[in-house]
Amino acid sequence: MPHDAPASENALIREETRRRWSLALPALTVITLLSIVPLAVMVAYSFMQAGQYAGVEPGFSLDGWQAVFFERDFFDDSLIPATAHLTILGRSIALALATTALTFVFGIPTAWFIATRPPSSRGFWMFLITVPFWTNLLVRTIAIQEVIRADGTLNRVLLATGIIDEPLQMMFTNGAVLVGMAYVYLPLMVLPVYAAIEKFDFRLSEAAYDLYASRLYCLRRVVLPLMWPGIVAGSILVFIPALGAYVTPRLMGGGRAMMWGNLIDLQFGQGRNWPLGAALSITLTLVVLGALIWYARRTAKKDHANG
């Protein structure tokens, strides 16, 4: 047989490598041309000068990056912190963290509840969690908007029951954005936490109780460490899309509770400062990538530690 000889075995491996790369090539080409190249253009634009009306003009400039953090004082042209941008970036991080916390508070008990049902009915409960996940994000945002807007359902119920005399103005606030994002991203927290609890062997809790552990002690020292990977995965899955959210803050927050994604859109639209918009885009991408790399390394280390 020819492949007994090492030389032709190498040739076979080379042939196999070539064949497999050419199979993957069409997909790789599409993604390179339509996602990686545009991202590279974005990086290049962040180092160019702003065009007078829109777009960019050739020539290296750090103005875009500088404008992320500083602006020129109107009177003496000195550099002062760009408070308007920094407020929006700070709000985005705070709201993304708050969204993660809120989905945590509601998502963990829900995942626990589902994972402790009899196996035959777990599928049904998980189906109820996945349906909202697959329905249109815009439609779900409209649904939650209808509940909390000035003449929406919640206000009408509260007025009718006499709890309030005047409709509560809840729209276009940080709170509205938070409620909207927690509503749309909740399934992302439940899914991985459920997967972690479902694998949990409850005989371990029994053993802990037999050894006179209190409920709290058992939760803290036995259950929580085994749930932790699911909780971290869920938090990452909620935090990342929440940080870059565009549709939900736009509908729930409007111009008053803008987030990072809306600020980027503004710079490419009315703001007409493309280099700044590009620099804000790259910064957001780097923060997201940083969180993902932190998560990937953490999981890799854990897997390694567990053998």
Partner: protein, 267 residues
Amino acid sequence: MAEKRFDVTHVPGAALIAGVTFLALYVPVLILVVNAFNGGDMAGQWEGASLRWFAAALDNTAFRNAALNSLIVAVSAATVATGLATMAALAVSRGRPVKGQGGIFIILNQPLLVPEIVFAIALMIVLARLKQVTGYQGLGYVIAAHTTFCIPFAFLPIRARLAGMDLTLETASMDLYASRFYTFRRVTLPLLLPGILAGFMLAFVISLDNVVVSSFVKSPGQETLPTYLMSELRRNLTSEIYAISALLLFASISIVAASWVVTRTKE
């Protein structure tokens, strides 16, 4: 009554919070659907059940065009993305890893690693230039953009299916002098079909739901259903918006339910 057995899975309050969560997830959507069936002129003022707003939406040319565009984009993007993802999955999931396999993985998942708004605007910049140069303004740009972010979604279930398939049957086929292509068509493809189907459905729903990428990449005057809904929202909440939302909701739920049934029966 006998004393209740101590239950380790019981956590006080978990069922209560879970109940609140399920209500919070479903009540707003139910309110929206109920509003869509409202017969009154004013959005939110209930005046009896009626299908008039569904009829109004279906009678609206702008809505019908947007729905048709959405369907064209979702079918084309999901088909192309599933084809490309199947080839890519076959390249990286079988036998020994080849040189550069990790690189293939990272590139295939790259669209998921970038925030959607950044992906959308970067693509808008490049495609705006392309529109100027070529003069072509059609739906092709939206289809190409959707194909790109659908590839990693279609790839996921196909690769999972391939990872669970063993190579014995294919090896047997090849040992019996079947050609590579014949083996693929008669052995690999039938076994892989549920994965391909799941990948297609996933890509289809993801494309149908997309609003951010479509709204930045589309040419003026073009609308998909979600971008049409978004532009209508800028005016005011009307019963027709609720009706269109409800239609989109039914579409997504039927697709998810269908794929649920398909994957259940295959196993």
